[in-house]
Symmetry: C2
Subunit: 242 residues, 2 copies
């Protein structure tokens, strides 16, 4: 988000409120996804999950509170000439809503234990991961009063980087240990979840991650030298080990 604002010539401090909002929305989605009635995870970021510490009822409420607070914080975003608080609110709510973030989780829940095609898997990740990344970048652009062409670049970059991020995530789930990841490794296979490695195999998955990252990088042309931070982030996400 901050790098997107910078790439569009905006000020970092103007993007702080929506950056916090996206972070809270992301965290709420993790707290709810980890619940026993969803993915049933005990470990997140190297620590016990919310429901393990505070109980299930409280974990539902923690997620609800984070989501609501996300909107309260978003309200503090300064408006720009092209983008009012209304546009930002619609962008943010659409991304978190039943067509994207939650729609993706519904497909994810329904797909457990089933053989998915690559296309079906991509659809889940488009909604769950790529949408939030795109919105994060686009909100950053909005705070910088980005031109339509810049917004297009951010969308294209975010979409492909989001998918690449998820391919890498699936790979790490297979190749890394629980200690390194800070969340339960091998979880996908244990619950028979379709992933890139399970559909494409490990080698092809790595190539797919590289291909998507390249596609993301190609979308940065419009930003020239100002897009360097975004470039770095893309390389970092591809090469990360946890």
């Amino acid at each position: 988000m901050l790098a997107a604002a910078e790439a569009c010539g905006g000020k970092l401090e103007d993007a702080l409120a929506p950056a916090c909002a996206v972070e809270l929305m992301h965290t709420y989605s993790l707290v709810h996804d980890d619940l026993p009635c969803m993915d049933d995870d005990d470990l997140r970021r190297g620590r016990p999950t919310s429901h393990k510490v505070y109980g299930e009822g409280m974990a539902v409420l923690i997620g609800d509170a984070l989501l609501t607070e996300a909107f309260a914080i978003l309200a503090r975003t300064p408006e720009t000439k092209r983008y009012g608080i209304r546009e930002m609110l619609v962008e943010f709510a659409d991304c978190g809503g039943s067509k994207k973030l939650i729609g993706g989780q519904v497909l994810d829940l329904e797909g457990e234990g089933k053989d998915l095609t690559k296309r079906e898997l991509v659809r889940i990740h488009e909604n769950k991961t790529a949408a939030l990344l795109m919105t994060s970048l686009r909100l950053g652009g909005m705070t910088a009063n980005a031109t339509p062409r810049q917004m297009e670049g951010l969308s294209e970059f975010g979409y492909n980087l989001g998918l690449a991020f998820q391919v890498v995530d699936d790979i790490l789930d297979v190749t890394q240990s629980t200690e390194v990841l800070g969340k339960t490794a091998g979880k996908d296979e244990a619950v028979d979840k379709a992933t890139y490695p399970s559909i494409l195999g490990l080698e092809k998955s790595k190539k797919e991650a590289a291909r998507l990252t390249k596609k993301a990088l190609d979308a940065l042309g419009v930003f020239g030298r100002k897009g360097m931070k975004l470039e770095e982030i893309a390389h970092y996400l591809l090469d990360r080990e946890f």
Copy 2:
């Protein structure tokens, strides 16, 4: 909400979007409150609860989607001279947030099986019920470009009516059948939940409901004849049988 807009001289159609938003927020809170890890209710509005029909994971997501959609719909509210979309968003998010709606549910969960004082009980209901009613009325006022004095009247009316509503709700839980209520009757006593009847007794609770309703009605002076719909609603809520 619509009656509040009308009382302030506004147009009903301007209040439709925030009215839907409040309705969705209310419904989300019911879907999550009914979950097995919260109040564990099987019946709501005469029908099986969401988690009974769709499973727990899906019920969590249904609530999440309703909450997110509430903000998306709120974004469609027309602005007025005194109130921009930002003020409405802050009002709405604050009401649903950890200090009010969710804070009330936290106190509620923590209070189960404990002896609460009347004061502690009022605090739960202030947050859970009165806050949402106040916000509904205040948003209605905002769409009608209400004066500060009108907003004060709506707040005072909503606060007292919200508390009165909850006293009546507690009374009905004791005096009515599951069939009439459309939700499980006698539930409060079964889970040893503090209620107005359990603290004050039935007769004093009825007097309390009447007293609060009168206080609510007294706040309507500022609206003159235009406040008639709000008056009717207050009488209806006091006299309702389900």
